[in-house]
Subunit: 347 residues, 2 copies
C-alpha cells in the first residue's frame, strides 16, 4: 500500500488514567528512524455503560494521529496498537467499534487491542517468556509462556492491588492513625509526616472520602513511607510486606523456568518502582526467594513502547504473542501486500 | 414546668447511616412506664458543607417527636439527647442551630448532643468507667475514666475501621481473589462463596467500585468469612486478626483498672457481634490477653437506649459523664424548676 517515495509508519497508543498517549514509528522504527515525540491528550477516555467509550477514544486519537502523520510526512499507517487500562473487563465496545472507525478515519486495516498489562509486558520484556509487574497507584502482574497470558491481582484498591502505591500509602496512614489513637503497631514518624502533608489527623477522613480519586490520594503518601524506612521499623515492615505481595503476584504468573523454557525473565515497570531502594531492596530479595529460576532484568521500555512494538511486529507479520480476545485481540482483515511479497523477513 | 396531672418525658434520638430513630421515655422511664416503641425515619440525615444538616434533622425529628408526645399524652419534654454518626467532626451546625430550633419547635430547654460512640457507650455501660467497642460496617472504640473521653479508630474503611464488617469482608474477598489468581494466602472456599454471592470474580470490580456504598458491600461478605471458619484456615486467620484489632482499639481507650478505678468493664455493641462464635471466641481471648483487668460484660442496651439514658440523667441533674464539645455537648440554659426543688435526688 506504500508507493515509491512514500513513507509508512505504525502507531502505538496507551490509554490510561491520566489521558491518551500516541506515538508514531516511521518505517516500523527501522533504519534509525525511531519514534517521534509522543502526543498526549488532556483527559482520560471515558467509561460508559458499554465499557470504554470507543467514540471518545477516537475523538482524541484521530487528530493526534493526523498530526503525528503530517509531522513525519507519513501517508500510510501499516498497523495500530491500542493498549487500554480496563480493557480486559471493559473492552467490548472497543472490539466492536474501533476496527471500522480506524479503517474509515485513518485507513488502518491492521489493529491490535490490548490490555495495558500486555503493552506493559511487551514494553518491558518483548516477545520473551516471563513475568512483568506493572505498578503505580494500582498493581497488576502479567506473565506468559508464549502460549497463553496469565494475570494476577489488578483488582483495584479495595479488592487487591496489594503492594501498590495505594496499598503502601494506606498502610502508612493506618500506622499513623494507630499512633494517633495509641493503638499497637503505630508509627509516630508516619503520623508526623502525615500531619505535615494533610494537616491534623482528625481532618483526614473529611479530605479523603468525598474525593473521586481516593486511591491517588492514598498513593500520594507512599513516598513518605519510603522516606521513613531509614530507621522506622513500621515503615520497613510495610515495605517488606509490599515486596512479598509483589513477588507473590509475579510468581503466580511466571512460567516455570529451566528445562522447559530455558531462561525466564522478570521485570518491574511503572511509577511505583521510582521509590528506589527502600522498596527495591526487599523486593529483589523477595523475587529471588520466590522466583529463584527467573532472571531479574530492567524493563526495556514503557507500555507505550510496548504498544509500538506490537504494532511493528504486527505490520511485519512476526507477532508471536498469544492472542486472547480480552488480553491481546488482533484484526488483520486485509494483510498488507508487502507481508506476502518475497523478501519479507520470515515471522 | 409540668403542672398537676400533666405528664413529662424525655426524648432520645439516634441519627445514623440508615435513618433517624427517636424514642420517648415517659416520666424519665420511672415507675414502670418505660419507653414507647421507637419511630424511625426513612432516610439518613444529610451532611452538607456546614456538616450534619440541622435543618434536615429537624424536618424529620419534629413530626416524630410530636407524634410520640401525642401518643403518650405528654405535653413537656424535660430533655432531649441527639446522638449522631459523624458528630465529632461534623457537628458544628448541630451545636449552632439545634438548641434554638428545639426550644422553638418543641419547647425543649435541655439538650445533649453526642457522638454516636458516646450514646453507644452509655447504652452499653451507663455512667461507669470502661471501654465499649461499637462495630458494624465500621468500628470505633470509646472509653472513659469519667474525667474525659477517649476514642480509637472509627477512621472509615480506607484509613482504619480495622476488624469491622467492611474490614473482614474485604479481607475475605482479597483471600478469594488470591485463590483465583494462584497467589499465596488464598482460600478456594471463600472464592466459591464469593462467586455464589456476587457471580464470577471477574465481575466483582465492576460491581463494587461504581457503588456509593462500597463499605456496605464489603461488609456483606463478612458473614461468609464467619461461615468458613469451621475449617478454612484463611478464614480463621482473618477473624483472629480482626479480634486482635478490636481488642487493640479497646485497650487504647480503656482506663487502667485496679487500685485507681476499681473494676472497669468492657462491652461490645453493634451488628458485627451478631456474627457469633467464629468472631467472639477469638475476640474474648484477645480481650483477656490485652485487657486482663477489665471485666467483659454484655452491653445493657443500644445507642438509642444510651441517648434516652443521657436525657433522663440530664433531666434529673445527675449526668456525671465528661462533657466535651465534640463528644458530649450539654445545653441546660433553663434549669427545670424541679431540679432545684427540695427532695430531688442528689446528682
Amino acid at each position: 500500500m506504500t508507493g515509491p517515495g512514500e513513507l509508512s509508519g505504525v502507531l502505538g497508543v496507551d490509554s490510561g488514567g491520566s489521558g491518551l498517549r500516541a506515538v508514531l514509528a516511521v518505517e516500523g522504527g527501522r533504519e534509525g528512524r525511531g519514534t517521534a515525540v509522543p502526543l498526549k491528550s488532556e483527559e482520560p477516555v471515558r467509561t460508559g455503560p458499554r465499557g470504554i467509550d470507543a467514540g471518545h477514544l477516537m475523538e482524541q486519537l484521530v487528530p493526534m494521529a493526523r498530526q503525528l502523520m503530517a509531522d513525519a510526512g507519513i501517508t500510510t499507517l501499516r498497523a495500530v496498537t491500542v493498549g487500554a487500562a480496563g480493557y480486559t473487563s471493559l473492552g467490548n465496545a472497543l472490539r466492536a467499534d474501533l476496527p471500522s472507525a480506524l479503517a474509515r478515519e485513518l485507513g488502518v486495516r491492521r489493529l491490535a487491542l490490548a490490555a495495558d498489562g500486555v503493552t506493559a509486558y511487551v514494553g518491558a520484556l518483548g516477545q520473551r517468556p516471563g513475568a512483568v509487574v506493572a505498578a503505580g497507584t494500582g498493581l497488576i502482574a502479567i506473565g506468559t509462556d508464549l502460549t497463553r497470558w496469565r494475570r494476577a491481582d489488578g483488582w483495584g484498591h479495595l479488592l487487591g492491588d496489594n503492594g501498590s502505591g495505594a496499598w503502601i500509602g494506606r498502610a502508612g496512614l493506618d500506622a499513623a492513625l494507630r499512633a494517633h489513637d495509641g493503638r499497637s503497631g503505630g508509627s509516630a514518624r508516619l503520623l508526623a509526616r502525615g500531619e505535615v502533608m494533610f494537616g491534623p489527623a482528625g481532618t483526614w477522613p473529611g479530605q479523603l472520602y468525598p474525593r473521586p480519586d481516593r486511591p491517588a490520594m492514598l498513593a500520594s503518601f507512599a513516598p513518605e513511607v519510603a522516606a521513613c524506612a531509614d530507621g522506622d521499623p513500621v515503615a520497613v515492615d510495610i515495605l517488606a510486606e509490599a515486596a512479598r505481595h509483589i513477588a507473590d503476584a509475579a510468581r503466580a504468573v511466571c512460567p516455570a523456568g529451566g528445562e522447559v523454557f530455558g531462561e525466564v525473565q522478570v521485570a518491574l515497570t511503572g511509577g511505583l518502582f521510582k521509590m528506589g531502594d527502600p522498596l527495591l531492596v526487599p523486593l529483589r530479595a523477595a523475587l529471588t526467594d520466590r522466583l529463584p529460576y527467573a532472571r531479574q532484568v530492567p524493563a526495556a521500555g514503557d507500555p507505550l513502547a510496548g504498544a509500538v512494538r506490537i504494532a511493528v511486529d504486527l505490520a511485519e507479520d512476526r507477532l508471536t504473542l498469544p492472542r486472547e480476545e480480552d488480553m491481546l485481540y488482533v484484526i488483520a482483515e486485509t494483510p498488507a501486500p508487502e507481508a506476502l511479497a518475497p523478501g519479507t523477513p520470515a515471522p
